[in-house]
Symmetry: D2
Subunit: 345 residues, 4 copies
C-alpha cells in the first residue's frame, strides 16, 4: 500500500518516513512540499542519504489520489482543511496530523487557533484518532484527525479515572513538559539552542490550542463538561512529553487499587504500559517507540492522585499513532510496524 | 572576616567558595573535608587552579573557632547536628546548609529523614534562614538553618498569596523541576549522564524530605496548618529550579491585581523580581545569581492561580542565600557580594 | 536461532536486545549477569517492561551451549578471555564485544590493558569483526573479536586512502569525539551528569587502549607498520562518535577525486555512506543505525586530507556490527535486521 | 568611566553588560541597536529586569562621543568599519569585537569575509587586542581589533612553542570545538535546538574566516609565514571553546620540559593557567571566567606535541578580553573586574 506525505520537510514527516520504512505493508509514495518542490529529500535531510533520495513534489490532488492509497498530512494548521476535500474526492484515505479536524465546534477552533475552521461537513466526517479509545470508529473512517501530542499523553492518563466516580472533575490540573522537537523545524527564538539549553521555560499559560481538544475528549469520556488547568513547559531535550496530572479523589483509595483499575482498563492495549506501584516512568523509557507509559501515585496526606504519563511526542504523539490508525483502518494488527523497543539510553 | 567551610568537596562548598571570593568582607579560612584531608583543593577541582590551592583540613572545632569567624556547614544530613554544638561553643557563628536544624519537630525530622534529629536545645537556637521573610530574626542569630532549594523557591512563591484570604489553602499543588546539580557530586544512577540526558524523571513522589519544611513555613506564615502535594522532577540541565504552583482562588481576581499584590509584598526585597503580566521567568534568567523571579497567571476559566518561581538551586537555593544571611547577621547590605547579573545565555 | 547475552546489564547488552528483537532470524535466549542473577530484567531497565521480563541468569557454559546457538559477550575486559574456551567447547559461536581477542600480540595486550591476555590458541582462532573489510574470514569464524567503537570509525575512514600511495603514513592524526554512553553504565565522575554537561573533556591522551587495535588494522591494511596520534574527547551527548582524521597527501589531488576513490572502495558496502563534496556528516545523522558515514575534504592550502567518519557508538561501534557479523556467519544478507533509518532529530 | 555598546542585542553585548556591571571603574552608558531602538532592554532580555532597564538608542556618533569615554562595537562584520571613523573623530576610544580591523591585508579580508574591507588608514591605526602578547601596543591604542574566539584560544596555545625551534611549523593542525553561543542569537538551522542537541557537526572546513587571523598572528610571532589546517566543530553546549592542536617536534623532549617552557612564557600572565603534567583542562573549568587554560602532552611514540587550550568563548574569546584591553588602555591592573572564579559545575 502506498502512502503519500504532505508537508514533507517537517519533523512529523521525517518521523513518518522512518516508521513507514519499517512497516511491512506500507511504502513511501509521493512526498509533497510546495515550498521545496524539486529538491532531493536527502539534500535537506542527509540522514536519509541512499535511503530516500526521491525529489519533493508539488501538491496535485488527482496525481496523489492516483498513485497512493493513503495520505498523511503533516502540515501547519489551516492548510489541511483546504486540501482534504479534494484528496478524499480523489479516493484516498486521509490522516491529518494537524489540528484542523480535531475540534467539533467551529467556534472553539476559531477562538483558539485564530484561523477559519474546516467545513462542518468534513468535521463530521472526521474520526478522532486516539487509537486506544476510538478504535471502533477509526476502523471505518476515511478521514482521521490524529490527536495532538499533549492531548494524547493527557487523555490516555486521565480517561480511566474519569470513567469511575473517584475523581473530582473540577480539580484536574495538567503540568506538561515537552522536548523541543514539538516546536518543529521552523526557526524561532524559543527553539534557538543557546536560549533553551540549560533552561526550563513555561509558555502559553492558559492559552495553548490543545486545551479545547483535551477538554472535548475528557468531557466526552466522562459524560459531563470538564474544564482543566493546563500548563506547558519546554525542557532541554529533543524528544519526549511528560504530563504530570493531579486529580482530587472523592474517597480514600490506595495507589495499588488505582493501578489495578488502570491495568484492567488497558488490558488489551499493547501500547499502554501501566507501571506497578512505586515505578514511575521517565520519557527516555519510551523514546523512539509508540508506548505510552503511565505511573500512578496516591498522596494519602492530601487524598490526591498523581498520574504521570509519558510518550515520545513524535511517535505516539504524532507519526506512530498515525500508523497505528492506518493499521486499524486496514484491519491489520495495531502493532504492525510499531514493535520497536525504546532506544535506551 | 574569615569563613570556614565544612564538607568541602561538594557542589555547595564549591559555590560558597565562588561567592566568598567575590565578597568584599569575607575571605576563605579553613576548608574541611575529613575524607580528603591533606589533598590540595585544586587537584580535586581544577577550575580552582591558581585561585584556591590550599590543602583540605580535618575537622577540629577549636582550631576552626580560633581561626574563623563564621562556619558554613555543607555536609550531608545528620552530620552538622553533631558538629554544631562544639562549633558554637568555640565562638563562631554557624550557617548550616543541610536539613538538620530546619524542622522544629524532632518527630517530623525522624519520620522524613530516617536519622536521629539534632538536640532540641539547638533546634530552638536555630533561625530558619529564608532571608526575605525572617530577616529580623536572622540578624541576631548565631545558628542559621539555611533553607532547602525547593522550599526556597516554593515558599517565596506562595507566601504572599497565603497572606491574603484569596487562597483555598487545601488546594496547593507544587510541581517542581530541578537541574541535576541538586543531587550533588556523589555518584548515583540518577545522576549518571546517559540516564538523565534527553530524559525527564519524576522522583520521591510524596516522599521528599522538603515537604515538612515547606509545610512548616507555609503553616507559620498563613496561620493555619497547611498540607501540600509536592512532586519533584529531574530535568536534563545542571543548574536551576522551577516550581510551578497551583492554588484555587476564593474569589475572581485578575492576574494584574495579584501581580500588584506580590510587587508590594516584595517591594523592599532586592532579590525577588516579580514579573509583569504575560512575562513568565525561565530558570536560565537567574542562572548564577541570587535572584528568585516570580511569574503569575490567573486562569480565568478555572479561577486558579498559577505561580512560577525560579532560582539557581546552588545560589538562592543554597550558597547565595547563606551569604545573604551572613550579610544580615553582620548588619551589611544584604546585597553585598551578591550583585552579579545572571549569566545568560 | 537463539542468542544469549553475557554481561547483561550494560549498555552494550541493552542495545543487543533492542536489535535482536528486530531481527527476523534471532530471538533472545539467556541473559547472563552474575552480579544480578535472579533479578527481573525490566526491573533494572523499565523501558523493557512487558517486552523482556525474563530473569537474569548466572553463567553456566553447558546450559548456555545447550539452549543457544550464539553467544554475545558484552563483558568488561579480561572476563571473556576466561569464558570463551568453555563456551566454544559447548558448541556455540561467540561474538566478543570486549577487547580480549582483538590484539594478536599478547605483549601489546598486557602493556595497554594491564591484564593477563587471552590464551594464544584462542587469539589465533579469533577473527577480527570489522565487517566491511574482513567479511570473508568472518563468514567461517566461530569466534569474533568485535571491533572497538573508535577503531571502527577510524579504520573505516582511513583504510581506503592507505590502500593508495597518496598518504604520508607517518602523518596520521585522529581527533576523536565520543558521547558518554561509551563509558558504560558503571558510575564514575567522568560520566556524572553535572561534570560532563556543558563541557568538553579530553582524556587518556596517548594512552587509550584502542590505539594498538587501530594500528594493528591500519598496518595490516597498508602493508607497513603505522603509528598514529590518537586523542579522545568526551562530549555532552549520549550517543555518537566522530573521528576527525588528518593525513598529509603525497601529491596534489582534489576532494572530488578522493571521494570517487572512497565511493568505489565502498561500492558494495551498504552501511558505508560516502558523502558528496561539501557534505560532511554529523553524528545525529547516523543515530540508532548501523551506518558509518564518511565526509572528505582536501585542504588545498596545506595539501592535507581531512576525513570525518561518524557512527553510533552503540550500533556500528558495538551491537549493530555484532549483528552484522552474525548475519555474515550465517550466510544471511548483512543488512538483515539492521535496516532502520537513523532516528532524526 | 562610561562605556557605550553598539550592536546591543547580541550575546556579545549581553556579556559585556554582565562584565561591565562588575567593573569598579566602568558604568554602562548608551546601548545602541538601530533595529530595536526605543525598546526596553529588559523586555528583550528578561534576565536584566530591574538591573538594566534603559531603552535602546539609535546610532549617533556625536552623542555617543559626548556621553561616553569608550565604545564597544559588537556588530556583525562590515558594520564597524563604517562606524569607527566617526566615533574616533568624536573622541572616544573604540574596541571592535568584529573581524573588521583584525587583518592587515585588505585582500585577505575581502577573500575570506566577502565584504569590502575597512579603510587602510584605520587598519593601520588598529592594535590587535591579544592582551597577553600585545599589551604594550594596546596600552597606547585608540582602536582595538579584539581577537576572534578561535584565534584567541589557538594563538595563546601555539605561540610559546613557535617561539622555540622545537616546532615543525609546517605541521600545525588545529581541531577546534565550540559551543553554540558562538553562532550568536541570529536564527539559523545550525543553531536550532533539535538539530544540534545530541549531535556533533563539523562546519566550514578550510573556509573559516578565522584562518587568516590565526595565520597572521602565528606568522608574526614565529617570524616566518605559517599555514595551518583548521577544522571547526559545533558541539551541544552553550559556552566554551576547546582547541586541540598538533605540532610535530623537531627533537625529542618531555612533556614536563614543554610545560616548564610554557609556565615560564606565561609567568606574568594571570589569565593563562598552564596545567601540570597529566592535567588536561576541560571547557567547564573556565566557564564564565577570563581564563585560558592550557594542557600539554608529548606523544613519545610519534614525537608529536598535543596542546589543548580552553576558553569561555564569550569571555576570554570576546567580552572579557575586551574589558582586559580597556584595563590595559587605562593603566589599570589587567585583572580589574575580571577576577571571577569559573562557575562550576
Amino acid at each position: 500500500m502506498k502512502a503519500a506525505i504532505i508537508g514533507g520537510t517537517g519533523y512529523g514527516s521525517i518521523e513518518l518516513i522512518r516508521l513507514i520504512q519499517k512497516h511491512p505493508h506500507l511504502t513511501i509514495g509521493s512526498v509533497v512540499s510546495n515550498s521545496q518542490a524539486g529538491a532531493r529529500f536527502s539534500d535537506i535531510y542527509p540522514h536519509l542519504s541512499d535511503i530516500v533520495d526521491q525529489p519533493l513534489e508539488s501538491f496535485d490532488a488527482d496525481a496523489l489520489g492516483e498513485n497512493n492509497d493513503i495520505v498523511f498530512l503533516a502540515t501547519p494548521s489551516s492548510v489541511s482543511s483546504n486540501l482534504v476535500p479534494s484528496l478524499l474526492n480523489s479516493g484516498v484515505k486521509c490522516i491529518d496530523l494537524s489540528g484542523d479536524f480535531r475540534l467539533r465546534s467551529t467556534e472553539e477552533y476559531e477562538s483558539w487557533y485564530k484561523h477559519k475552521p474546516a467545513d462542518e461537513k468534513y468535521l463530521q466526517l472526521a474520526s478522532y484518532g486516539l487509537s486506544e479509545i476510538y478504535a471502533e470508529k477509526i476502523k471505518t473512517a476515511n478521514l482521521i484527525a490524529n490527536p495532538g501530542c499533549y492531548p494524547t499523553a493527557t487523555t490516555l492518563g486521565l480517561i480511566p479515572i474519569l470513567k469511575t466516580n473517584l475523581a473530582d472533575e473540577t480539580s484536574i490540573i495538567i503540568d506538561a513538559k515537552s522536548g523541543v522537537s514539538g516546536a518543529g523545524r521552523g526557526l524561532s527564538l524559543t527553539a534557538h539552542y543557546s536560549e533553551i539549553n540549560e533552561n526550563i521555560k513555561a509558555y502559553k499559560l492558559g492559552a495553548h490550542q490543545h486545551i479545547p481538544e483535551i477538554e472535548q475528549v475528557l468531557s466526552d469520556e466522562s459524560g459531563s463538561p470538564i474544564t482543566v488547568t493546563f500548563t506547558t513547559h519546554l525542557v532541554p531535550m529533543t524528544r519526549g512529553i511528560m504530563c504530570t496530572m493531579y486529580v482530587n479523589l472523592t474517597e480514600e483509595i490506595s495507589s495499588k487499587k488505582i493501578i489495578d483499575l488502570y491495568k484492567q482498563f488497558y488490558q488489551d492495549s499493547h501500547f499502554i504500559r501501566v507501571r506497578p506501584e512505586g515505578n514511575i516512568p521517565s520519557t527516555k523509557e519510551v523514546a523512539g517507540s509508540n508506548f505510552c507509559d503511565i505511573g500512578l501515585h496516591v498522596d494519602e496526606r492530601t487524598n490526591r492522585l498523581t498520574i504521570i504519563s509519558v510518550i515520545d511526542n513524535l511517535v505516539k504523539g504524532a507519526a506512530g499513532q498515525a500508523i497505528q490508525n492506518v493499521n486499524l483502518m486496514n484491519g491489520w494488527d495495531e502493532r504492525t510496524g510499531l514493535t520497536d523497543i525504546p532506544m535506551y539510553p
